[in-house]
């Protein structure tokens, strides 16, 4: 019988682990957005000085990891587990980074929900007594993701209004039992949902049902409502997914999200002047906003308690070609200054 489980899908660690430090790096376009002052490093070139966009993504992920470790004065040798995932086939950015970090590595994949998945697993490892330090990281790169999932520049594709912009960047967080910083007090592991959206250009709508379900589930399991949090953020639902989530949380659970709910993909860019259409997407969206912007706001005391709901679309190009729907997932992590 689990002593840490509350409700149906939510878990509460006995000793809430600390996010002792974070590292965030972003590409040039993200570096022009409203959150530019909150990132540790802004690349001026999309290739990050590497030979390919894929190599650039790995360089960014490594940079975020080393920045995170350096800030906490922790060496890779001290870290017990490296939990990482990304969008590229066989999660090569993460695997190749692990090769250089020399930290025992568990590869994870939750598409753009990977940041929260990493935090859930890191909490289990630390609270379970398996680890003193867990490094959870994720990355995405606009050009490498477009090449794999969507339309590389050469294709000359006209972007539709509901298309989102894959965020270039990487974020890492170091999770440990004690120290100063915000703590992970609860997390809800989401179920996979597919309401039949088949358009891979409308991922926000495909992921919204999963986001709404996980949010409602978290509220039901914990007895808390939206007011309990200073801020609720989803990872990368964009304009249309955001509206859908607000509607579905209202109709499925009667919760009013309009007061304190934001989407990382929408606050990362100035949607008025930066042409990202429906907003940002990709693993880095929730990672850089949470580990950069929100983490600093928490450390400064401006935010006390947030609910991160990172959302992922679990399709592949092949599954779309074969006419399948786009399953979505969302995990919720409650991060508090206590």
């Amino acid at each position: 019988m689990s002593t840490k489980k509350i409700g149906k899908q939510t878990y509460q660690p006995d000793n809430p682990p600390v996010l002792i430090s974070t590292g965030t790096v972003v590409g040039p376009f993200e570096g022009q957005g409203p959150l530019k002052d909150y990132f540790d490093h802004i690349y001026t070139d999309l290739t990050a000085g590497e030979r390919s966009f894929e190599a650039a993504e790995k360089e960014m992920l490594l940079n975020a990891c080393f920045t995170c470790l350096n800030k906490a004065n922790v060496t890779p040798q001290d870290v017990d587990f490296f939990l990482a995932g990304d969008l590229l086939n066989q999660t090569i950015s993460s695997g190749f980074s692990a090769l250089e970090l020399r930290i025992p590595y568990l590869g994870i994949y939750g598409a753009c929900s990977t940041s929260a998945e990493g935090l859930c697993l890191a909490t289990m490892l630390v609270d379970g007594g398996f680890a003193s330090y867990v490094l959870a990281a994720t990355s995405s790169h606009n050009a490498s993701a477009e090449r794999q999932y969507r339309y590389p520049t050469e294709y000359g594709f006209h972007r539709k209004p509901q298309v989102q912009w894959t965020v270039t960047g990487a974020g890492a967080a170091l999770v440990t039992p004690d120290g100063e910083g915000p703590r992970i007090t609860r997390f809800t592991v989401g179920k996979v949902h597919d309401l039949g959206i088949k358009d891979p250009l409308n991922l926000g709508a495909a992921m919204a049902p999963a986001a709404a379900d996980t949010i409602v589930r978290h509220f039901a399991d914990t007895g808390h409502g939206p007011d309990y949090f200073d801020l609720i953020v989803t990872g990368d639902l964009g304009k249309f997914g955001y509206q859908l989530t607000v509607k579905m949380a209202e109709s499925n659970g009667g919760f009013d999200l309009t007061k304190n709910y934001k989407d990382c993909g929408l606050i990362l860019y100035d949607t008025g002047t930066q042409d990202v259409h429906a907003g940002g997407s990709g693993c880095a969206s929730s990672a850089v906003v949470t580990y950069g912007y929100l983490y600093k706001k928490m450390m400064e005391g401006e935010l006390k308690r947030i609910l991160l709901v990172a959302t992922g679309a679990l399709h592949s190009p092949v599954s779309c070609y074969q006419g399948n729907g786009i399953p979505g997932i969302a995990h919720a992590v409650c991060i508090e200054m206590i």
């Binding site: 999309l46 290739t47 606009n142 050009a143 477009e146 590389p152 520049t153 050469e154 294709y155 358009d199």
Partner: protein, 119 residues
């Protein structure tokens, strides 16, 4: 050549490409679907003898859109089949289109050698 040809070319070419844009805007078909769909449609119209008539009527309005590529594939196959029998269907298919295909490969290669991608 009559001056009206310019108007017909504009209207027919515009209609064909507008159809493509409408498909992209209002359906879930991707540019890949539209591209291959137009090639196949051009091929079918060509086999029925209709595309050549459209070219006579609208000139560049019909030869510029990608449907003209389907037409060229079929016309090449038909004319070679008339000269050398069934096997001509295979050998003739790329006869008229080889300029376009070769140009795409050669220029694609040259550009890739000279420039680095920016996104």
């Amino acid at each position: 050549m009559e001056w009206q040809t310019y108007i017909f070319a504009f209207l027919v070419g515009g209609a064909i490409t507008m159809l493509g844009q409408l498909i992209l805007d209002f359906t879930n078909f991707t540019p890949g679907h539209v591209l291959s769909g137009f090639v196949v449609a051009g091929g079918i119209l060509s086999g029925l003898g209709l595309y050549e008539k459209l070219i006579e009527f609208a000139g560049a309005g019909a030869t510029m859109p990608i449907s003209s590529f389907g037409n060229a594939l079929v016309q090449g196959a038909i004319s070679e089949a008339e000269r050398s029998g069934v096997i001509g269907v295979l050998t003739g298919m790329f006869e008229l289109t080889s300029t376009g295909i070769t140009a795409a490969i050669v220029f694609g290669f040259l550009i890739a050698v000279i420039f680095n991608p920016k996104g």
